[in-house]
Amino acid sequence: MSHETNALLQEARRQLEICNACRYCEGFCSVFPEMTRHKLFADGDISHMANLCHNCRGCYYSCQYSPPHEFQLNLPAALAEVRQDSWEALVWPQPLARAFHKRGVMIMALLVVATMAMLWLVINLRSEGGTGFYAYMAHNLMVAIFLPAFLLPLISVAVGLRRYWRLTGGKAVVLADLKGAFASVARMKNLAGGHGEGCNFEREDRYSNARRFAHQAVMYGFLLCFASTSVATLMHYLLAMPAPYPLFSPPKLLGLSGGVLMVLGTGEMIRLKLKSDPGLGSRRVWGGEMAFILLLGLTAATGLVLYTASGTAAVALLLPLHLGTVLTLFLLMPFSKMVHGFFRLSALIIDEQKKRA
């Protein structure tokens, strides 16, 4: 374990030990009930709590020990640092994670490179005989690029999750774990503040559901887009119904609604992030997180624009741009904020196990 990881864990441990002697925040989220199950905090316990923390900031604004008090409690930031470090340390290969998370510029640079590559392919390997988008890039070529670009990063994530499971003492998953964890994700319970009025992300000591709703718009939007692609793949291979699809078809309806949700949600996420105090998160990845939200928004926006431009000459430019954003998003899945979804879900599943234990 690196010296830096140790220092982050030690600071979180110092703060958790003070919190554990107070416990006023028990009702805000899942972190505090888990905290009260311990007297001493092993590294894995702290990583687990860090990944359970949704950065709602309720505990910070309620805390009688937050700065300038000499105890200097800022648990949202301390856990954000541990959480961030855990993703970078556990995902394989580590150097890539360390490079991208904190550098928005790198994320954007990869986007440019990926888009240029797509453009080059569209210009130089123009397919013969395809219709719709496949007139610009053959279906087989798309599959040849995107299938590995999707699956290889998943292997990276899987390695990270396996290590995370070991570190935090996760067990074999049973149905009840999944039920509890998915119920929490579906309603973003940990951003509800315990009373349903939301978190303290952007309005300081006032509660607001804005971030919770924005996150759900992005999450459900993303899932709808993912469902759209999955349905289209099934239609292509099983029903021999290749794209393009009409407006009133499952892929289009799913994709359009998902895309609109993602654009709205990411826009709101950016607005909220700009209003919020960067000192209550992991400061060093602020730029990387911003770039990631932008990338998500761009992926959806370019998809929508591409759809409205179908049949026009603009597709020659818009298609590579959209494919470039999708490719970047896929490739960075293990090395950007995208990875939080996997770790957060794991933490919620493991928390269900610990609650029952």
Partner: protein, 475 residues
């Protein structure tokens, strides 16, 4: 420093404004008064002595509200009726209470809880480790600072002006009538804040160490103050010097034994130590001085403040072994730890050999029997002075742990005498337009001891009365 919605007013010198209600203090009672008065249409200003991050006085450190209720209410289970509540109060105060005012507070508490919720306070089920309070005490989600935040937001929404870092140095009376307060804002020159009515809710004097020394004796120099450093009793003293009637023992404070490594001020809840019943406690000279197992800790923690205060250097040391480390709430700082008693003694700055002898004597006096950490188990020492009458198990299983104990002051009892409408009393009757609430008047109801969550109840009930009366006076 002015935080008003009506920005234009920021430019006015304070002297040119005649406020309806000027409130000294910015904790729970002051806020309840401000909100109540503002809702009744009064133009209200809060003069909070602390800077914004420390606003809220000792309310910042509170965690619950003791509430009478006839059936399940919000997070409260079952029922808690007036007689039981009053008897609980009699038990802790040993009769040192004003029955009329006490019953007024108890009866008033029931309607306060929904009022608190309507004004932004959120409750949560009893915290882990406090199940015994789930029937009687409603816990604030996020604790007292969260309540304070909610009230400031509500007050701001009602157009209440708040000035932070505002030291009220003098409450000016002309005859029996308040005219203005003399206030230094952020250490600046004294300004006048004129008003038609005043509410005084700026707490006790426990953070003025010199006053504490005069009241208690030189030992008080070594006391730690558990709450805000801003309760220095300036307004209280000013009013007493102007002839207001006082209540409460001027020499006494509520003091408990807390972690000796706690900060001098503002350590709050987390500095408590619950290990005493499972330990032996020695003084600087490694001598035991009181029965550690006399009763359960919630019933005994308050007397240990005094016991430690009476020891040389006002310090004690609780010693336990590995068998007991998990029997109580975690401490804010890790315990001192060693593999032998002697080594532990040295680490604690004691004479290791003497500590070993004291522990050996205690161990030799322990008798077999069954140990029950949550109830009086009668497991007592034999032929030991002082005895340990419950939970007396030999301290023999390494590693050994030690905590330094010091006296932590929660609040002082001296306060202003008020009527049942919160009006401040002079020997010859009430002041015309001055009301008081909160810790500042609690001494008449809580003359001795402490009942968990009752300070907030007194503050809420009397704060609302003061706000109501002040607003009615200026209407």
């Amino acid at each position: 420093m002015f935080c008003s919605k009506r920005r234009a007013r920021q430019l006015d010198p304070p002297d040119s404004i005649l406020w309806d209600v000027v409130i000294a203090g910015g904790g729970n009672a002051a806020l309840c008064a401000a909100i109540t008065a503002a809702e009744a249409g009064a133009r209200v200003i809060i003069l909070e002595g602390a800077p914004k991050p420390y606003r809220g006085g000792n309310s910042r450190h509170t965690r619950n509200f003791r509430c009478m209720h006839e059936g399940p209410l919000s997070v409260l289970t079952d029922a808690y009726l007036e007689e039981e509540y009053y008897n609980d109060l009699l038990l802790v105060t040993k009769g040192k209470t004003d029955e009329h005012l006490a019953r007024l507070v108890i009866r008033g508490s029931q309607e306060c809880l929904p009022w608190m919720e309507a004004h932004g306070v959120r409750f949560q089920p009893s915290l882990s480790g406090t199940l015994s309070l789930s029937r009687t005490n409603a816990f604030f989600l996020g604790g007292g600072k969260s309540l304070v935040n909610a009230y400031y937001n509500t007050a701001e929404g009602l157009g209440v002006t708040v000035v932070y870092d505002a030291q009220v140095q003098h409450v000016h009376l002309e005859g029996d009538r308040f005219t203005h307060m003399e206030v230094s804002v952020a250490g600046g020159p004294v300004q006048r804040f004129r008003g038609k009515a005043a509410v005084l809710a700026s707490g006790g004097f426990q953070s003025d160490i010199d006053w504490l020394i005069r009241a208690w004796g030189p030992a008080a120099a070594n006391f730690l103050i558990r709450g805000t450093p801003y309760n220095r009793g300036v307004v209280l003293r000013d009013m007493l010097e102007q002839g207001c009637q006082s209540v409460g023992d001027p020499t006494q404070c509520h003091a408990v034994a807390i972690d000796g490594r706690a900060p001098k001020f503002d350590g709050g809840i987390c500095t408590r130590l619950d290990c005493v019943p499972f330990s032996i406690v020695v003084n600087r000279d490694c001598v035991r001085f009181y029965d550690e197992g006399e009763d359960t800790w919630p019933k005994r923690y308050a007397i240990w403040g005094r016991l430690v205060a009476a020891q040389p250097d006002q310090v004690g040391y609780a010693i336990i072994d590995a068998k007991s480390i998990d029997l109580f709430m975690p401490s804010v700082f890790p315990a001192m730890r060693a593999d032998t008693i002697e080594e532990l003694g040295v680490k604690l700055g004691l004479d290791g050999q003497r500590l070993s002898r004291t522990v050996a004597e205690f161990n030799a006096a322990c008798r077999p029997g069954s140990f029950h950490p949550t109830e009086l188990d009668g497991l007592t020492t034999q032929r030991l002075d002082p005895p340990k009458t419950n939970w007396a198990r030999p301290i023999e299983k390494p590693p050994f742990y030690g905590y330094q104990l010091r006296t932590g002051v929660t609040f002082t009892y001296l306060g202003l005498k008020v009527s049942d409408r919160a009006r401040v009393q002079m020997p010859d009757g009430s002041l015309t337009n001055v009301w008081s609430a909160g810790e500042m008047i609690a001494g008449s109801i809580l003359g001795q001891g402490y009942l968990a969550g009752f300070g907030m109840t007194i503050g809420t009930v009397f704060g609302r009365i003061a706000g109501q009366e002040a607003a009615a006076h200026v209407a």
